[in-house]
Structure formats: C-alpha cells, structure tokens
Symmetry: C2
C-alpha cells in the first residue's frame, strides 16, 4: 500500500484528487506543490491534510520527493517539463501519472523517458471532469464521480503502484477506460476541445457584437435563456489551460473546427430548403441515442 | 375579468399556458383545439379543466369561439394562417395573442388585419421558455417562471383584455418586456436561433462522423461529458417548430451563422498564436457579466 502521494499542481483537479483520496480512505502522506503560493495555501487549508513542499522557483524541492505516486496536475506543457525533470531523479520506487487533457505528446515522452529497467514508471491519465472555472477553492471530493478517467498506457506492464492507482481512481467513483493515445486525442477533440472552442468563439462573438452597446447588452441578458447559457458556459474557461491543449492537439482540433464551419454553412444555405429537415433528423438521432 | 380563454394548439406551450392560468387562479372557461387529436386528448387530461373544441379538419369550429382571449400556440406559419381566418370572424370582443418564436411577420400581419375600429385586437407575444422536446405531456404550470415574455405591440393602444392578459402573464412568474418586432427577431437570432442551429449542426455532424461506427459511438458515449451534453442538447428539438422559425427569420439567422463560421475559422487559424488569448479574454468577459 502506497504511503506517499505527491501532487504537483494544486488547481481544481490536483486539489480534488487530494480530497477524493481522503474520502476514499487514503491514510498516507499527501505532499503538494504549486507554482502559485496562494493556490498551495488554499489546497493546504481544504481539509485533505496536505503537507506543502518547499516552494522554490522552478523547483518544488524534488530532492525531498518521497517514493510513491506522483500526480502531475498542471497544464499539459508543465507536465511535459516535469516529465523531463523527474526522469533524472525518480527511480523504480516511483509511479508518475498525470491528468492532462491531451495524451499523444505526453505518452510519447513517457515512452522515451520512463518504464525502463530501474527507472520510474509513467502512466498517462486524463479524468474527464472539470468545471468552467478552475482553482483549488472549487475542488470537491466528488468531482470524479460518474466521470470517465482515461488511461493511455505506454506498455502492457503494470507495477503494483499502477494497479493501486487504478484502484484509487475506481474508488473516486470514476469509470476507468484504456485507449490508444492518438485515438484519445482525436475523440477528445470532438467531445471536449471542439465544444470548448465553439463556446469560446460564440461568447467572444457576442461580446464583440454587444459588449460596447449597453442597450443591446441588457436585451441579451434579459432575453437569453437556457440555450444561450448552456452554449456559452464554457466561455468562462481559462486560457492558461486551453492554450496547452490547443498547442498539443492542434491538428485534430483544427479538423473538427473546419468540419463544423462547413456544417454551419450547410445549415445557413438550407434555412429555406427541405435539407434542413435532414439536419434535424440526424441531430435528433444523435440525441435519442444519448437519452 | 375575462371568462373565456381559447388555446389553439395544445403542445408544450399551449398546454403549459392552460396549467399556468389555473395555477394563477383563473376560474373561467378554457377551450382548446389542436390539429392532432392525440395532443388535444393529453391536454384535456392534464388537470387544467380544458374543454375540447370540435376537431374538424382545418377548422376547429371557429363559429363557436367564445368572446375573450384567444391564444395562438402553434408553429409560426400556423399562427399566420390563423390570423387570416380569425380576422374575418372575431370582433372587438376578442383579444388574440400568440407565442411564436419570430415576431416581424406576425406583427406586420397584425398591423394589416387587426386593431382597427370594431375589429379584434392582436398582441404579438413570445415567451422565452421551452424544452428541447415538445408535446402536451411535458407541459408544466411553472414553465414560464423567471422567463422573459416578450411583446411586440402593433400600436400604443391597450384594451382591457390586453391589460388583463399582461397581468396573467405576470402571474405566471414571467418577466414582461416590450420591444420592436424587428429588434426582437434580431436579438432572438443571436440568443436563441443561433444556439439552436449550432447545436443541431454539431449533433448532426457527430452523427454523420460516428453514427455508422459502433466502436466510435461507444467511445463518444463513454468519454463525452457535460460539455458535449450541453452543446448538443438542443439537437433534440423538433424540425416542425424550427422550420417555421428558419422560414420567417431567415436573414438574421443567416447573418449570425455566417459571423460564427468566420469566428470559428479565426480560432482555427490561431490555435498556436497569442490571438487565442484574446478570444478567451472576450469570452471570459461575456460570461463574467452574466454571472
């Protein structure tokens, strides 16, 4: 049984992992670090009995990392940076895992840097959970309940620490699922990254159209209902996280955006033709299957 | 005090109006008609004490319409048809109002056909309430609570029946708001029709991409979370209603779709540039204002 879990990055996901571990009965140490003092402070006060790691610029004090499980819970580019650093420091007593939204670059780096004789193991992971706003103060022990937690393993090996981490994730209430890293990034482009970019584009367009027009702003606020709220909700998401997603999954996201642009043009050109019926029929079918 | 309310069209909105009237204490008659026997049956069984009007093809028995308030609660084209028919039959003892999603064509027809000496009055209306699926069986007395109920009056006149109808709408819990009909259609294109077409296009695109691929369908179902659910929810909406919206508000909807296509292309071309930060900043601002 693991006695040390270290969480590097105490935002919404990292802090929720700490809370979920405690809720699931984990009684060992939880060490944590964040680039921002204030975020680490909030995490340490969240009730998960987190010990703060020394906060030195660019280095959380990796010389004091205790063997066990290390969870990289920052944006994707920070995870790639950490992977380089930790590969030189951690040995086979460590399992390193992450929660990044894109998996191909991380899995490729893991294959290059980890899972070799005597080296630490790396298990790329991605919980499909989040909120439109980040931050340790919004963390919840129940964040992962009912959500998918995807893994894109580098190899077939499974150390005792990997088996145990998968068990903890199951105890968080998440549905564990393994898939290929490239396939992960393609599916996530469709079901997560495209909805995000779409919501951001729509909210930005509305802000450009009505932002400087006080009467218009008030009309939009007074008249817009659930349809507007739901389709723009993700517009509140932070650039800091999505910049890294866009940089590490550019081609699949661009492909889905291009397909949607063409589809919207098709709808626009057929607002007065029976072809619109076929669009509604297909959309109805998609929704009927999802209940 | 009005003693007769006639509801022509007992779908989700028409039947909810009947339920909301009873919940607000309306004790007079409610007569109703629908082109579909089954819908009228459900409405008559909903507990609002509705009397069914004779159901003759193309004619609900308008010869037996009781003076009072008539609510046209079908799709927009059916409302335009009814306006022609009722103008020849109803006199100044009638107020006719509607719940259609577009208002310019209806308001123009109202100006031509109604509100003349000795003629019935017409008050164009539009409750911003609904569900992604229609039907009398989903009707609720509380459907309009907290929603905007827009009016696009033809003139400054206000008969006692108009004043009373506005009072009932207020008792439904809706926020009454008057605006110009062309402005209504422009704002609703942005906050309602664009989100609808967007959601339909996205759901149709996903159905085209994954519908025939069982493994892909299962991955989308397993991995997709709240983001996908919310951005495709309106994909379940019925063509029958939206066909009329598209036909009677074509230009404003096409303009908003075209603007969004260009915006998505802009995001796509800037996935790896700092311009993406500006899109997120604008979107964050739009959402921050809406809380």
């Amino acid at each position: 049984v693991v006695e040390n879990v270290t969480i590097l990055g105490t935002g919404l996901i990292g802090t929720s992992v700490a809370l979920a571990l405690r809720a699931a009965g984990y009684a060992g140490n939880i060490d944590a670090w964040d680039a921002e003092f204030s975020s680490l402070d909030v995490a340490c006060g969240c009730g998960a009995d987190i010990r703060p790691l020394a906060n030195r610029p660019g280095n959380p004090g990796v010389d004091v990392l205790e063997p066990g499980i290390v969870v990289l819970a920052g944006p994707v580019l920070s995870t790639l940076d950490w992977m380089e650093k930790l590969a030189t420091i951690c040995d086979e007593r460590f399992l390193i895992t992450d929660v990044g939204s894109t998996k191909l670059q991380i899995t490729t780096a893991a294959r290059r840097l980890y899972n070799k004789p005597g080296a630490a193991r790396f298990l790329p992971g991605h919980p499909m959970a989040g909120k439109e706003r980040g931050g340790a103060d919004l963390a919840e022990a129940t964040l992962f309940q009912g959500a998918a937690w995807l893994f894109t393993p580098v190899d077939d090996g499974a150390s005792p620490l990997e088996v145990e981490w998968r068990e903890w994730v199951g105890k968080f209430g998440a549905r564990v699922m393994d898939l290929d890293a490239a396939r992960h990034d393609e599916i996530c482009a469709w079901v997560s990254h495209l909805p995000q970019m779409l919501s951001t584009a729509l909210a930005a367009l509305l802000e450009d159209t009505f932002g400087a027009d006080e009467a218009g702003r008030e009309e939009v606020a007074a008249i817009g209902g659930r349809a507007l709220r739901e389709t723009t909700r993700l517009g509140a998401s932070p650039y800091s996280m999505w910049r890294d997603v866009a940089l590490t999954n550019t081609e699949p996201i661009a492909a889905t955006l291009h397909a949607l642009e063409q589809r919207l043009a098709h709808v626009r050109e057929n607002l007065r033709t029976p072809e619109l019926r076929e669009e509604f029929r297909l959309a109805n079918e998609f929704r009927a299957r999802r209940g």
